[in-house]
């Protein structure tokens, strides 16, 4: 099951160096270059948005759209002093926070019908078990306080290092470590009863 999950997650990682030419082209207003960036990050941005907005697909789609529009309108301000990914993720976090403020209400988790298809064959039973477990994890993460939720999302959805997470969230590396620790413990406490199913699922 882990291999299958890994297959789902097989995407260019955000830690890969971004092509400077693509960024430069975006700064010149090149739509094709923006399309390249969009294709590279769309699922990650959307996933972060959907997890941080309690599963609201419509709001997550709106946030994803806002992120790329803002990226294009503000990319001239990007001086290359910080990592492009850090800059982008700050944009994502800020857009999600703005959206959350606008909502001011909790939106129940949406159905998980949009999980990207894996590249290998998965039996129906395994697929079901995987979706069920993923659903539990998402629900548990949605219940975390934002300050514990954000480091988890940036670590596991975006694959950022502690230092990068600290740069995005504007806190120290030690704070990131501490919050991740508390987040992990909270997840284990909430979903500890699934550990048996978890082993079988693997």
């Amino acid at each position: 099951m882990l291999e299958q999950m890994a297959a789902i997650r097989e995407q260019p990682t955000v830690n890969e160096p971004i092509d400077r030419q693509t960024i430069a082209a975006c700064q010149q207003g090149d739509r094709e270059a923006l399309r390249l960036l969009f294709e590279a990050y769309r699922d990650r941005v959307y996933s972060i948005a959907i997890y941080s907005l309690g599963g609201d697909q419509t709001a997550a789609a709106d946030v994803t759209q806002q992120v790329f529009v803002k990226l294009m309108t503000r990319i001239s301000q990007f001086r290359g002093n910080s990592e492009f990914t850090t800059w982008l993720h700050r944009l994502v976090v800020n857009c999600c926070l703005d959206e959350r403020r606008k909502q001011r209400r909790f939106v129940p988790l949406a159905e998980l019908g949009l999980i990207k298809a894996s590249r290998g064959p998965i039996s129906q039973a395994t697929n079901y078990a995987r979706r069920e477990l993923a659903g539990h994890v998402q629900a548990a993460i949605a219940e975390l306080r934002p300050k514990l939720r954000w480091p988890i999302l940036l670590k596991y959805v975006e694959g950022l290092s502690y230092e990068e997470i600290a740069a995005v969230l504007g806190c120290s590396k030690g704070t990131v470590a501490s919050r991740l620790n508390r987040g992990h413990k909270a997840l284990a406490k909430k979903l500890g009863h699934l550990s048996g199913q978890f082993v079988i699922g693997e």
Partner: protein, 390 residues
């Protein structure tokens, strides 16, 4: 604290985000701490669960919307400037003042960050990897490190002085009116403390040294074992509920996971000290000597070593307690009101009274006289025992 639980670092440890030294510390701690191992398992489960967050495919309908939005706000176009209403301008001005005030406070506070003066004695000591010139400041959280040719002295205001020997690594953990605390990770330091007792502490990997008004040296090896040698006053060594009070002229070893051993006077016989180390840290090593280590300690003990036997009374197996009591009573008879039964059931009040008597006898006379007196007492007691047996 160096030897304290490391649970707060478990996620960083699991993600390999710690420095090699920090990782080693956590790994070593996990080997010996059942509680932390259980907690680490919890963290690992949390990590496994979090890894099951799937990526969710963004709907294809997003891109056309982005293109539409960009047509309305061409790329690179700056956002329209909005002029602030007077009330908003006032609020903005207030916020600006607030931020400036917060910045000033932060700056002021960082200037006043507690620190100790460090003076270079030899070579090139470093504070947080930066070489210091003739003097430097060691702030809370910072490491002072010496290589094999350098030495340094720390002045702790009116508390005292600490000299740092070569190849030593210490960290300032806290400095407050009620507590000054160093961490000695490895190497050797000598402290001369003039402040009232219980103000100056040193954390080591295997115990905490608490100053009771004294001068002492403390050294820690790479395995985390430490040795305390007191030259003046008293020092308490503690790990959880195990404590050893070490007087002047005495020493005490500590081991990770065990804590402080039994204090002993440094002029005790070599055989006495070796047997005591076996009793403290390797009680099951039967290969060391055909004679049990406790027998050697009891046989070699002089009047002055009753201090050591006093600790052993409560630390040896219950079956051996009677033999320790007998030898102690030969060297320093228990004061009135201290009975054999009470001592064997470890009555704290009785043990305390006996300890006072031991300290008084051990310190009131010159060494030669103390031993002479001890031998006379032993002789008289043996004679009386034999007489009563007849």
């Amino acid at each position: 604290m160096f030897s304290s639980h490391t649970a707060r670092q478990f996620s960083a440890y699991h993600h390999e985000e710690l420095s090699p030294e920090e990782s080693r510390r956590v790994a070593e701690h996990l080997i010996g701490c059942t509680r932390c191992r259980a907690e680490f398992e919890e963290i690992k489960l949390g990590v496994k669960l979090a890894k099951h967050l799937p990526l969710i495919a963004a709907p294809d309908s997003i891109w056309p919307k982005i293109e539409t939005a960009l047509r309305q706000h061409p790329a690179g176009a700056s956002m329209p400037v909005r002029y602030l209403k007077p009330s908003l301008a006032f609020a903005a001005g207030f916020m600006l003042l607030f931020v400036a005030g917060a910045f000033w406070l932060r700056l002021h506070r960082s200037e006043a960050r507690p620190s100790w003066e460090v003076a270079r004695l030899n070579g090139a000591p470093r504070i947080n990897s930066n070489r210091i010139n003739d003097t430097g400041k060691l702030a809370v959280g910072q490491w002072l490190e010496t290589d094999d040719t350098s030495r340094a002295r720390i002045d702790i205001g009116n508390v005292g002085q600490v000299e740092i020997d070569p190849n030593t690594r210490v960290r300032l953990v806290a400095t407050q009116p009620t507590e000054h605390r160093l961490e000695l990770a490895r190497g050797r330091m000598s402290a001369r403390i003039s402040a009232p007792p219980k103000l100056f502490f040193v954390n080591t990997p295997s115990a905490v040294a608490e100053d009771l008004g004294c001068a002492y040296t403390l050294e820690v090896d790479d395995a985390g074992n430490s040795l305390l040698r007191v030259t003046l006053g008293w020092v308490a060594l503690q790990l959880k509920d195990r404590e050893s009070l070490v007087p002047a002229d005495a020493a005490c070893a500590t081991r990770p996971g065990v804590g402080p051993g039994t204090p002993y006077f440094e002029d005790a016989s070599e055989l006495f000290r070796a047997a005591l180390a076996k009793l403290d840290f390797e009680p099951n090593d039967t290969q060391w000597s055909k004679i049990p280590a406790l027998d050697i300690v009891l046989h070699q003990a002089r009047l002055r070593d009753t201090m050591t036997l006093w600790y052993l009374l409560s630390r040896v197996d219950e079956n051996d307690r009677g033999r320790v009591y007998t030898r102690m009573a030969e060297l320093v008879p228990p004061p009135n009101g201290v009975t054999r039964d009470g001592a064997l059931r470890l009555d704290q009040e009785m043990l305390k009274r006996w300890r006072d008597r031991i300290d008084s006898d051990s310190h009131s006379l010159p060494e030669a006289m103390r031993d002479f007196l001890g031998s006379i007492r032993s002789g008289i007691r043996r004679h009386l025992n034999q007489a009563s047996a007849k």
